[in-house]
């Protein structure tokens, strides 16, 4: 033990894990180390839960609405706003994750140390994934349950609500993986954010013109699916296809990101 305490112990991580813990710790410090997370959390609460306040306020002026109706409306609004806003949020928030480091030269600096390129990408992905899920989806979901109990003395069925949350989380992961992949391909933020947001908006138009089977292969149906699950309605036929397809897309995007970043020249 004396030896252990008196000499610097070399890192034992090898292969793709080289530098991973250090890079991840750095990313988490960026997310949670200062007051940034508080600001982000307040913005997400204002965006998502603010609408629930508006519904609660409106329902007090409409005697025709029963508490059940209002809760259903609130759940629908929570899910739809949640999916849409977090998709935009993650694209905007992570558009510079890779590009900023490429442009500033910090990526080259970090990669001149014993850190693998895979660790660099995974650390970004994990930190952005966990942190954005907590800040933009978990906090608002908890506050939504509190609002629901306070305003209407009832909360959504927990199982359905959690399943719906998982679908929302999957959607968020899709846009995160897409943005990280684009960040490894492009060297400016414009195309990264542009493609990500365009893809999101395409989800409102393309399903109207494309055959249904094609639409099912993209995550556009996840918003509707999350709402259906949260409201306890019967699931549409083939509902599992967009879920599996989205998982596959995420894996493809991350694979491309790793491949492309592995070939990046600094």
């Amino acid at each position: 033990m004396t030896t252990l305490n008196n000499t610097l112990q070399p890192i034992t991580e090898r292969g793709w894990q080289s530098g991973f813990k250090n890079l991840l710790a750095n990313e988490y410090t960026l997310w949670w180390g200062g007051r940034r997370w508080i600001k982000s959390a307040l913005i997400w609460l204002a965006v998502i839960n603010g609408f629930i306040f508006l519904i609660a306020f409106a329902s007090t002026h409409d005697p025709s609405m029963t508490p059940e109706n209002v809760v259903s409306t609130a759940i629908g609004v929570f899910v739809n706003i949640g999916v849409f806003a977090t998709s935009i949020g993650i694209v905007v928030g992570s558009q510079g994750a890779i590009i900023r480091e490429k442009q500033l030269g910090t990526a080259a600096w970090v990669l001149s140390k014993p850190a693998s390129r895979t660790a660099f990408i995974f650390a970004k992905w994990l930190a952005y994934s966990v942190s954005s899920l907590i800040i933009s989806l978990t906090f608002p979901a908890i506050v939504f349950l509190i609002q629901s109990q306070l305003f209407w003395k009832q909360i959504p069925a927990p199982g359905q609500f959690v399943e719906s949350w998982l679908i929302m989380a999957l959607n968020l992961q899709f846009y995160l993986a897409l943005t990280l992949m684009l960040g490894t391909i492009f060297s400016a933020r414009g195309p990264v954010a542009g493609i990500g947001i365009s893809f999101l908006f395409a989800g409102s138009l393309l399903p109207l013109v494309l055959p249904e089977w094609i639409t099912l292969l993209f995550p556009w149906m996840l918003q509707k699916l999350a709402e259906t699950i949260a409201l306890g309605k019967p699931l549409p036929e083939g509902w599992v296809i967009p879920v599996i397809a989205t998982v596959v897309w995420i894996l493809i995007f991350m694979g491309i990101a790793l491949w492309r970043f592995g070939r990046e020249e600094f």
């Binding site: 305490n5 112990q9 813990k21 250090n22 910090t106 990669l111 014993p114 693998s116 020249e265 600094f266």
Partner: protein, 324 residues
């Protein structure tokens, strides 16, 4: 010692082409263990490209290279565990302080104990003279302070090889002197491979020099050999008055190839090219002084200034290019 152990850096035909442009033509470079190798060349010669290839920040178009006998492509991470690197324009995370930057760097190499890591950080900050600014955000650091931090982070892991890309470029004369002193202090423990434009610094601290021009290695030699020139064994002798009779006397010697005389302000300077250094060393001065009227003011083996050599080599290379 086998060749792998003798050379820390060993490249064989290492080359890089960017969009059809040869940034680095097949490079065969060897850097001996515990040497300080100055890597010289004009802007765009391919110095930074070479360094990036060695560190795995860029992929070679062709050729191979080893560092510590390990392949730069297949063992890049292992190599980087034993290397310290300072980039030409070092960039760090602006939200960090100098201490945090060093802690972040150290954590790539050491898992603990935390106390020893902190001690090492303190020691490194002291070495580069940043102890009083250790807890300041690096956002407000001057170019010189960033460079010092760069040197600190490059050697936090006690590297066996230190690669420095223009370490003194953005420093004032005092900063430059400090950097050279740090390099001289570190030479006992490590091999230093550094690129620079400042020839005076190279002459001061390096023991070997490699010169790159247009992506091609045009000279590599110990600095002593280089500054002795490639014009044979040449002695320089300065004397008061006319040097013609001395020239005549020297020219008659069998071990003398040629003698050139130049006179300015009552002083004659003789450039004597000889075939045998030992005889010249023993006889030349004595021969001139046989004339009691002769007053010799300077005598010695002619050494060139590195700047002269560098310019000569670069311009020679340019002429060759033009001839092609």
């Amino acid at each position: 010692m086998n060749p792998t152990e003798e050379y820390v850096i060993d490249t064989q035909g290492l080359s890089k082409t960017y969009k059809g442009v040869n940034a680095l033509q097949p490079l065969n470079l060897k850097v001996r263990r515990h040497s300080i190798c100055g890597f010289l060349g004009p802007n765009g010669a391919g110095k930074s490209t070479t360094i990036k290839l060695l560190l795995g920040l860029s992929r070679p178009t062709a050729g191979t290279a080893t560092i510590f006998g390990e392949d730069i492509l297949t063992h890049s991470t292992d190599i980087r565990r034993r290397v310290g690197y300072l980039a030409q324009d070092p960039r760090y995370y602006d939200h960090m302080t100098a201490r945090e930057t060093l802690r972040f760097t150290a954590r790539f190499f050491y898992a603990g104990p935390a106390k020893l890591i902190e001690d090492r950080i303190e020691q490194t900050l002291e070495l580069v003279g940043l102890s009083d600014k250790a807890d300041r955000s690096i956002k407000g650091f001057s170019g010189g302070e960033r460079q010092r931090l760069g040197i600190a982070q490059a050697q936090i892991n006690y590297p066996d090889l230190l690669i420095l890309d223009e370490p003194a470029a953005s420093l004032d004369p005092i900063g430059r002197r400090d950097v050279l002193e740090v390099m001289e202090r570190l030479r006992k423990h490590t091999t230093i491979f550094y690129s620079t434009h400042i020839l005076e610094d190279v002459q001061r601290v390096s023991d070997t020099v490699a010169i790159l021009n247009h992506g091609r290695l045009i000279a590599q030699a110990p600095i002593e050999e280089l500054i002795s020139g490639n014009d044979g064994i040449l002695y320089s002798l300065a004397m008061k008055g006319d040097g013609t009779s001395a020239q005549k006397k020297i020219t008659e010697q069998s071990w003398v190839n040629s003698v050139k005389v130049a006179s300015t302000n009552g002083t004659s300077t003789l450039q004597v090219k000889v075939t045998d250094e030992r005889i010249a060393e023993a006889e030349l001065l004595r021969l001139v002084l046989t004339d009691p009227q002769t007053v010799v003011t300077e005598f010695g083996r002619k050494k060139h200034n590195l700047e002269e050599i560098f310019l000569e080599i670069i311009s020679g290379d340019k002429s060759n290019d033009n001839a092609k």
